[in-house]
């Protein structure tokens, strides 16, 4: 699945929030077409790590390189290439799914927006609800729409913060199918998750983040099953 070359590289990224060091010298690479999962205990700094990478927070020190090019502060070019799915859906309750997608599509300067938005709504199974305000949507439907929003500009990197939260089995299967399809088309994917089963099913590599530091990484081959991955994680977390 993986293509050659590094898509995203973080070099000694540090983030200080107030007087607390939240991220400590994070060095990590994401290859083209790779799925990398970042796991770790609560409060390890996973969300801050994502926000710094997306450009929502400015790292205190360190460098971020995208396709070998140094990323400048608040770079629109980087934001255009990253699709960020956060804890919340970032959607407007008073707008319909189609209106939400069109609004974000305009901000991302998506070409052929009407067709793309409708196709994505069909893909996530919300086409029948396309003109209804989303305020009455369930958590699962919101998450499906949030996924469609992220996919709309065809990002080169997908950053998914706990994407399986609140989804039923059918929606989980749909999301995993979409993730695998995007990977096959060369998209690099970074996932934060507590769901070991999904991490094992999707990721090529796992990194453990603890107290703001990447303490270990492991490639997930066919020889490593779910219990072995859990055992490795527990060992790494307890030993550091």
């Amino acid at each position: 699945m993986k293509e050659l070359g590094t898509m995203l590289e973080l070099r000694n990224m540090t983030k200080l929030l107030g007087d607390k060091l939240v991220l400590r010298n994070i060095t990590l690479t994401l290859e083209k077409g790779e799925i990398l999962a970042v796991i770790g205990p609560n409060g390890a700094g996973k969300s801050t790590f994502f926000k710094c990478t997306v450009g929502l927070l400015q790292p205190t020190s360190g460098e971020i390189l995208l396709n070998g090019k140094l990323v400048k502060k608040n770079s629109g070019e980087v934001k255009q290439r990253i699709g960020f799915l956060g804890h919340e859906s970032f959607l407007y309750n008073t707008l319909s799914p189609l209106e939400n997608l069109k609004f974000y599509g305009k901000l991302y300067k998506v070409k052929d927006l009407d067709r793309k938005a409708n196709d994505l709504l069909k893909e996530v199974g919300l086409y029948l609800f396309r003109d209804m305000p989303i305020r009455s949507f369930s958590r699962g439907m919101m998450q499906r729409l949030a996924i469609a929003r992220v996919l709309l500009p065809d990002p080169e990197i997908l950053m998914l913060d706990e994407p399986h939260t609140g989804l039923d089995q059918e929606a989980v299967a749909l999301l995993n199918k979409i993730i695998k399809k995007k990977q096959a088309s060369g998209t690099s994917i970074l996932i934060i998750s507590h769901d070991f089963e999904q991490v094992h099913a999707l990721a090529d590599r796992v990194a453990v983040l603890k107290k703001g530091k990447i303490i270990s990484t492991m490639a997930l081959g066919s020889d490593i099953d779910l219990p072995a991955m859990k055992q490795w994680y527990e060992k790494e977390v307890s030993s550091s």
């Binding site: 927070l57 804890h87 970032f90 407007y92 901000l107």
Partner: protein, 227 residues
Amino acid sequence: MNSIFKDAWTIASKDLSNEFKTKQTIGMMLIFSSLVILIFSFAFDPTNNMVKAVIPGLVWLITVFSGILGLNRSFLSEHENDALTGLRSAPIDPSSIYLGKVLANFLLVTSVQIISIPVLFILFDYRFIGKIGWFILVVLIGTLGFIIVGTFLAALAANAKNSEMLLPVLLLPLLSPLMIAAVQATRIILENGTITNAVSWLRLMSAYDLLFLAACFFLFEFIMEGS
């Protein structure tokens, strides 16, 4: 720069179409301004000459206080589902979020003025003798200054717990010079005075607008980083 205006218009049209659908904020603003006009029309005898002296102040009183109701809501709606983070992670200049909000708030307050100011004149039985063009110019420049500062402070206050209370506390002292100039210029024009008497007030208002627009435009990015 073109892209900033285009993105700003996208954000403003989203806010305006939202408002057009729900009519929540504009309804609230219209009810408030109508109530103020009604109460004051009973408090002052329309046949009395003193009414002329009250009208310039009333025009700005209904603009500012009904406007604050709208400003309060303009960033709170972005906190639903953390949509503001969605905007911040989009490939747009943070200043376009500010400009979009300024545009939407300005159009909202102006539409309230289009209804409430004629109602004010009717209920106070006021015969307009000044130059209507100059009057509109003063109202637009004054309203723009109020929205420029108000939108910036609304973004700042939206992160606080009691943002509804915080906004007027921050905004009203900062608005004092603009409001003094606006009331004076409105009074001169309504009294059919020559425009030359109001020019210095108009210059003060324009300088206030430009100064605060430049400052808020560049400082907005730092507010967003903290939200």
